[in-house]
C-alpha cells in the first residue's frame, strides 16, 4: 500500500497549454501533490519521481499544423525513453482534450504498453459540425478495467463538459474499432441522458466520433485519453445547474479512481 502523501503527479505543459491549474486543483483536493512542469525544463530521469503524468488541455503550440501534432512529436524527440519506461512500469498517463490529441499523435494511444507506434494509429479530426463546441455531455462508462474508471460502473452516466473543435475520433479501420471494443479499450462513450449510446446523434455525440468514442486507454489500461474535461466537473459548484452545488461533480470519480489506484500500489 502506497502512502498517498509520498506520491506525486506531474502535469506537463508547453506554450499554449492552459488547463494545467484546474487539473492540479482537482488532484490536490484528493490529496495528491502535483507539480506543473514546462516540458522544456523537465530534466532527464525526473519523470520517475511521479506516479501520474497528465497532458492537460489547451492549444499547445497554437494547435497549428493539427491539434496535438506538434507537441506529440516533441514528446517523442524530447522524452521518449523516459516515457516508455514510465508506461512500462505501469504508472499512469492521462491526456485530457488537447492531451488526448497529443497521446494519439505521439503514437501512445491506442497502444500496447510502452511500445509507441512510429506513426499515429488514430486521429482526432475536425468535429463534423466544423465548429468548435463547448457543451455538457453525457458519458457512459463502458466497464473498462482502466484505473481511471475504477469507480464507474458499466452503463453508469456522467455529466462532464467538452470544449474542442477537433475531437472526432477515427481509427485506422473498422477492424481497428472492433479491436478496441474487443480488448475493452473504450473507456467512455457519448450517450443520451438515459445512458443509451448516442449512436452518432448530435448533440449527444458532439463531434461525430466513430462508435461515440469519448475516451480510450491502452491495452494495459494505464494510459488514457479523453476529450471531455473531468477537471471542470470536479466540484459541485462547477456543475452548477447539473447537480447539487454543495457536493461534488461527476468528474471527480475519474480522479478518485486514479487516487485509489495509486494508494493500492
Amino acid at each position: 500500500m502506497m502512502d498517498l502523501r509520498k506520491a506525486k503527479a506531474c502535469i506537463l505543459r508547453v506554450g499554449g497549454t492552459n488547463c494545467d491549474a484546474e487539473v492540479k486543483a482537482a488532484l490536490e483536493d484528493l490529496g495528491l501533490r502535483s507539480d506543473i512542469l514546462h516540458m522544456d525544463w523537465l530534466e532527464k530521469g525526473k519523470l520517475s519521481e511521479y506516479q501520474l503524468l497528465v497532458f492537460p488541455g489547451g492549444f499547445s503550440y497554437g494547435d497549428y499544423v493539427r491539434a496535438g501534432a506538434v507537441w506529440g512529436k516533441k514528446v517523442l524527440t524530447k522524452m521518449r525513453r523516459d516515457l516508455e519506461r514510465f508506461v512500462e512500469d505501469g504508472r499512469l498517463v492521462m491526456g485530457i482534450c488537447n492531451g488526448f490529441q497529443v497521446l494519439v499523435e505521439a503514437g501512445m494511444l491506442p497502444g500496447d504498453g510502452g511500445q509507441f507506434s512510429p506513426t499515429p494509429r488514430a486521429v482526432l479530426a475536425n468535429n463534423s459540425s466544423a465548429r468548435y463546441e463547448c457543451r455538457w455531455v453525457f458519458l457512459r462508462g463502458e466497464g473498462s478495467h482502466a484505473p481511471f474508471a475504477r469507480r464507474i460502473g458499466k452503463g453508469e452516466v456522467l455529466r462532464v463538459p467538452i470544449g474542442h473543435g477537433e475531437g472526432r475520433f477515427l481509427a485506422e479501420s473498422e477492424e481497428a474499432v472492433h479491436e478496441l471494443i474487443r480488448s475493452n479499450r473504450i473507456v467512455f462513450r457519448y450517450a443520451r441522458p438515459s445512458g443509451e449510446p448516442a449512436e452518432g446523434a448530435y448533440p449527444f455525440n458532439p463531434n461525430g466520433s466513430v462508435h461515440d468514442i469519448a475516451a480510450i486507454c491502452n491495452r494495459e489500461g494505464n494510459v488514457i485519453g479523453m476529450m471531455p474535461h473531468p477537471e471542470r466537473a470536479f466540484f459541485g459548484w462547477q456543475a452548477f445547474g447539473y447537480g447539487d452545488p454543495h457536493r461534488y461533480g461527476d468528474g471527480r470519480k475519474i480522479f478518485e479512481g486514479i487516487v485509489d489506484h495509486i494508494r493500492s500500489l
Binding site: G15, G16, H38, D63, Y132, C134, R135, G163, F240
Partner: protein, 782 residues
C-alpha cells in the same frame, strides 16, 4: 506643400526633419494629414509655437499618437459648448464625477490605469476593462476581433491581473441583407459575423480564458459600422498592484516582434515602400495568441516574485506611448535605444518602430538587480525580450537609433495637450403616436418574436466560445442541453473563498432618446447582475458614436453622459473604467449612438446564485415592476418595422429598492429562478424560463392587474419597461417573499406547471398555450 519645410536629415536610419517655424496654416494641415497625424490646426499651431527648432518625423509622430483620440480621449477630456454653457470634460463632469461623489471605499483604482480595480475578497481586487475594435473588425473581421480580445486581455495583464474571463458584445447588420445594396468597401454582414465570432472565440479559447458574457445585436445601421466590444476581467492580490518605477530601473520590452502592422499614416523619410495598398496592409494584424499565453504566464510569475516596479501594455502609439506614459506618471524621463527592438521585417524607419502597434507586447520597468531573474522567466516561456533603456530624472522622452538622436521631447509638454473644443446641439426626440392595432393571435406573435434575430437563441455564438475553461464558471451563459440564457455569469476565481464575481451587461441602442437609452442600458446591466444574485456592482461605460465634430453627434453624446451621471448616482453604482470610440462613420452614415454598460458585481457565496430556468412544479411565480406602454424601439415594434409609441424610462428610486429587496430574498434562499424582462418583454422572458426547464409556466396577467398600465394584451406582453423581473419563489417561502416586497410593485401572477408548456391568460381572460417544443423550435430558429 512648400519646398524646404521637409528635409531628409539622415539616410541611414531614414529620418526627416520638418520645420514648422515657417509653416503657414495650410502647410500645418497638410503635414498633419500627409503624415497621418490626425492633429487639428489648433494643435499643430500649439506645437509650432513651442519649438524653436525643426522637429523630426519621429517627434511629430509622437505628438500624433500621444495627442490622439485613442490615447488621451480628447473629446471626452475637452470642452463642450452647449446652449446652456460650456462643459469642461465629459469624463470629469459626468462619468468620473459620479464616482467621486459616491466615494465608495471599495473602489481601489478608477480611471487611472489600464483597467479599473475594485475590492473583492479580503486581500484581492478585481480588474475590469472593456474596449472596442470596430474599424479593424470591419476590414478584417477575424483578425480585427481576435486582436480586440488580445488587446483587452493585455489591459488586465497591464495592471498585474490574472485574467479570469472575457466578454464580447457585437452589433452587426442583418444577416439576410441583400448583396446588391452594399456600398463599396463594405463587407457583407454574414462575412463579418462569421469572422468576428470566429476571431473572438479563437483568441479567448487559445488563451484559455472563458468567454462568459456578451450580447449580439442586429440592425441595418450596423451594416456600415460593425461594433465589436471586448471585455476582460482579472484578479490580483491587492498588494501586488505595483506601480513605482524608479530612477535607474530598466524599461524592458517583451513579447511579439515589432513590425509594420498597426501603423497608420505614411512616411516622408522612406519613399521606397511597395505600392500595394500598404496603408491597409498595416491596418491588418495577424493575431498570435500563442505568444500572449506565454506572456500571461510570465507576467503572473514576475508579479508573484515581485521582480518589477511597473508594467503596462503596448496599445495605441506602441513603444512611444508606453514608455512616455510610464516615465511621465512616475515623474521620470527615459532614453529609448531603438536598436534593441527585435523587428519582424527589415527596412523599418525609426518612426515606424516607435509607433508600431504590433500585438502581443508588454513593457515592464525592472530594477537593474532583478533583470537577470526576469530574463530567465522570459526565456523559460520562450519569449523574446530586450532592455530599451534606463529611467532617468530628466523628464524627457528621448529615442536614439544607430547613434542618431531621433526624438527628444519634454514630457510635461507632451502630456499636457491643448484642450479641444467641440460644439453640441441638444437633441430631444419626442414620442410619436403609435399606429398598431392589437393583433388577434398573440401565440403567433410570440413565436415570431422568439425567432427574431435580436431575440433568438445565441447558442451558435455562445458554444463557439469555451465558457468552462479554468474550471471556475458557476453560472454559465447557457444552461442545460436545450438550455436557455442566464442574465449574467458568475465566476469563482479563488480556491479558498466562496465569493464570486458577477459579470453582466446592458445595451439598448434602439431607444431613440439618448438620455433614456443610456439610463436603460445602465439599469439593465444592474438588473441582469441582480437577477443571478450579484450586488455592489461597479460599472464600465463604452461609447460608440459618430464623428464628434458634428454638433448633433456631440449633442446626443452629452445627453447620454448626463444620464450616466444621474443614474450612477441614483443607483449608487460607480463607474470605474471605460472607453469611447468615436468617428464611427461609413459611406452608409454614422453609427447609431451605442452605449454599452458592463457591470461587475459580487456574490458572497456562489452556491446561492440563481439561474433563469424554472425549477419545481407548484412554486408560485411573481412579477416585479410596472409595465407601461413603452414599446418604441422594442423588439416587438422593430420586428414589424414600426416606429412610434413611447420608449422605456427608468424610475431609479423604485428600481433600486426592488433590486435591493430581490438580493435580500435571494440571500434568504426564497428564490428558485429569476429572469429579468428585457428585449421582447414578459412574453420572451417567460418563454425562456420554460425553454430552459423541465416544467412549464402558467400565468394570468389579470392576477397582476395593478402592475399593468395598459389595457392591451400585446403591449402588456411585449412592452420593454425597465426595472422588471419574473421570479419563481420556493413554495414554502411565498409569505416571506411578499413580506419583503411589501410596498413595492409585486404580484403573484401564476405558478410553475408540471407540463412543459407556457400558458398565459390575458388581461381580459384570453388564453394562449404554447408547448415547450414549439417555443424551443422558434427560439432556436429551427
Amino acid at each position: 506643400m512648400r519646398e524646404g519645410l521637409i528635409r531628409r536629415v539622415s539616410e541611414d536610419p531614414p529620418v526627416a526633419a520638418i520645420d514648422l517655424r515657417e509653416a503657414e496654416d495650410t502647410d500645418l494641415l497638410e503635414i498633419s494629414n500627409g503624415m497621418g497625424l490626425a492633429l487639428s490646426l489648433y494643435e499643430m499651431r500649439v506645437i509650432k509655437e513651442e519649438f524653436s527648432r525643426p522637429l523630426t518625423d519621429v517627434e511629430l509622430q509622437t505628438f500624433g499618437q500621444t495627442w490622439s483620440e485613442h490615447c488621451i480621449h480628447k473629446t471626452f477630456r475637452g470642452l463642450v459648448e452647449t446652449d446652456s454653457g460650456t462643459v469642461d470634460s465629459l469624463l470629469k463632469s459626468y462619468i468620473a464625477k459620479a464616482t467621486r461623489e459616491l466615494a465608495r471605499p471599495w473602489c481601489y483604482s478608477v480611471f487611472e490605469d489600464n483597467a479599473g480595480l475594485v475590492d473583492f475578497d479580503n486581500g484581492h481586487v478585481i480588474a475590469a476593462k472593456v474596449e472596442t475594435h470596430n474599424h479593424p473588425s470591419a476590414i478584417e473581421p477575424f483578425g480585427g476581433a481576435a486582436t480586440g480580445v488580445g488587446g483587452v486581455i493585455r489591459d488586465i495583464l497591464g495592471v498585474w491581473g490574472e485574467p479570469i474571463a472575457v466578454s464580447d458584445v457585437l452589433c452587426f447588420g442583418p444577416l439576410d441583407t441583400g448583396y446588391s445594396g452594399l456600398a463599396p468597401g463594405i463587407k457583407h454582414p454574414r462575412y463579418i459575423y462569421k469572422g468576428v465570432v470566429a476571431g473572438v472565440g479563437s483568441y479567448g479559447n487559445n488563451m484559455g480564458i472563458p468567454n462568459v458574457n456578451g450580447a449580439v445585436l442586429f440592425d441595418s445601421n450596423y451594416i456600415g459600422n460593425v461594433v465589436v466590444y471586448c471585455g476582460c476581467f482579472g484578479i490580483l492580490p491587492k498588494d501586488r498592484y505595483v506601480r513605482q518605477t524608479k530612477e535607474g530601473d530598466l524599461a524592458v520590452l517583451v513579447g511579439g516582434r515589432t513590425g509594420r502592422d498597426g501603423i497608420h499614416g505614411v512616411t516622408f523619410a522612406s519613399t521606397d515602400l511597395p505600392e500595394d495598398s500598404e496603408g491597409l496592409r498595416s491596418a491588418v494584424q495577424i493575431p498570435n495568441p500563442l505568444v500572449e499565453e506565454r506572456l500571461r504566464r510570465a507576467v503572473i510569475r514576475i508579479r508573484d516574485e515581485c521582480l518589477a516596479s511597473g508594467i503596462t501594455d503596448l496599445g495605441g502609439g506602441g513603444i512611444s506611448c508606453a514608455t512616455g506614459e510610464m516615465a511621465s506618471r512616475s515623474g521620470l524621463g527615459l532614453t529609448v535605444e531603438l536598436d534593441a527592438v527585435e523587428l519582424k521585417e527589415t527596412g523599418m524607419a525609426p518612426w515606424e518602430i516607435w509607433v508600431s502597434e504590433s500585438q502581443e507586447r508588454m513593457l515592464f520597468s525592472v530594477p537593474a538587480k532583478n533583470l537577470e531573474r526576469v530574463a530567465r522567466i522570459f526565456e523559460g516561456e520562450e519569449l523574446e525580450w530586450c532592455a530599451l533603456g534606463k529611467f532617468n530624472p530628466t523628464k524627457r522622452l528621448r529615442a536614439t537609433y544607430k547613434g542618431v538622436t531621433v526624438c527628444d521631447l519634454g514630457l510635461d509638454f507632451l502630456y499636457s495637450p491643448p484642450k479641444l473644443k467641440r460644439k453640441a446641439k441638444r437633441v430631444e426626440p419626442s414620442p410619436l403616436p403609435l399606429y398598431l392595432k392589437e393583433p388577434e393571435d398573440l401565440s403567433s406573435e410570440l413565436l415570431a418574436l422568439l425567432a427574431d434575430p435580436n431575440v433568438r437563441s445565441r447558442e451558435g455564438v455562445v458554444r463557439a466560445y469555451d465558457h468552462e475553461v479554468r474550471g471556475a464558471t458557476v453560472v454559465k451563459p447557457i444552461q442545460g442541453q436545450s438550455g436557455s440564457h442566464n442574465d449574467a455569469a458568475v465566476i469563482k476565481p479563488l480556491k479558498d473563498s466562496w465569493m464570486g464575481a458577477v459579470i453582466s451587461c446592458g445595451i439598448n441602442p434602439f431607444y431613440p432618446d439618448p438620455y433614456w437609452m443610456a439610463a436603460c442600458s445602465l439599469e439593465e446591466a444592474l438588473r441582469n447582475n441582480t437577477a443571478v444574485g450579484g450586488r455592489r456592482v461597479a460599472i464600465l461605460d463604452n461609447f460608440v458614436w459618430g464623428n464628434p465634430e458634428k454638433e448633433d453627434r456631440m449633442g446626443s453624446l452629452l445627453r447620454a453622459c448626463e444620464a450616466c451621471y444621474d443614474f450612477a448616482k441614483a443607483f449608487g453604482t460607480p463607474f470605474i473604467s471605460g472607453k469611447d470610440s468615436l468617428y464611427n462613420e461609413s459611406p452608409m452614415g454614422p453609427v447609431r449612438p451605442t452605449l454599452l454598460i458592463t457591470g461587475v458585481g459580487i456574490i458572497p457565496d456562489v452556491r446561492k446564485a440563481v439561474t433563469s430556468d424554472l425549477k419545481a412544479a407548484g412554486d408560485p411565480v411573481y412579477q416585479i415592476g410596472i409595465t407601461k406602454e413603452e414599446v418604441c424601439g422594442s423588439a416587438y415594434l422593430r420586428s414589424k418595422g414600426i416606429e412610434g409609441g413611447d420608449w422605456p424610462r427608468v424610475e431609479a428610486s423604485v428600481s433600486r429598492k426592488i433590486m435591493e429587496t430581490l438580493t435580500a430574498t435571494i440571500d434568504a434562499g426564497f428564490v428558485a429562478a429569476c429572469h429579468d424582462l428585457s428585449e421582447g418583454g414578459l412574453g420572451v422572458a417567460a418563454s425562456e424560463m420554460v425553454i430552459g426547464a423541465r416544467p412549464g409556466l402558467g400565468m394570468s396577467l389579470d392576477l397582476g392587474r395593478g402592475l399593468f398600465l395598459t389595457g392591451r394584451d400585446d403591449l402588456a406582453i411585449f412592452s420593454e419597461s425597465a426595472g422588471r423581473f419574473l421570479v419563481e419563489v420556493r413554495a414554502g417561502h411565498a409569505g416571506e417573499f411578499e413580506e419583503a416586497f411589501r410596498g413595492l410593485p409585486v404580484s403573484c401572477v401564476g405558478e410553475v406547471l408540471k407540463e412543459g408548456a407556457l400558458r398565459l391568460s390575458g388581461l381580459k381572460g384570453k388564453e394562449l398555450t404554447i408547448e415547450r417544443a414549439d417555443l424551443t423550435r422558434a427560439w432556436r430558429g429551427e
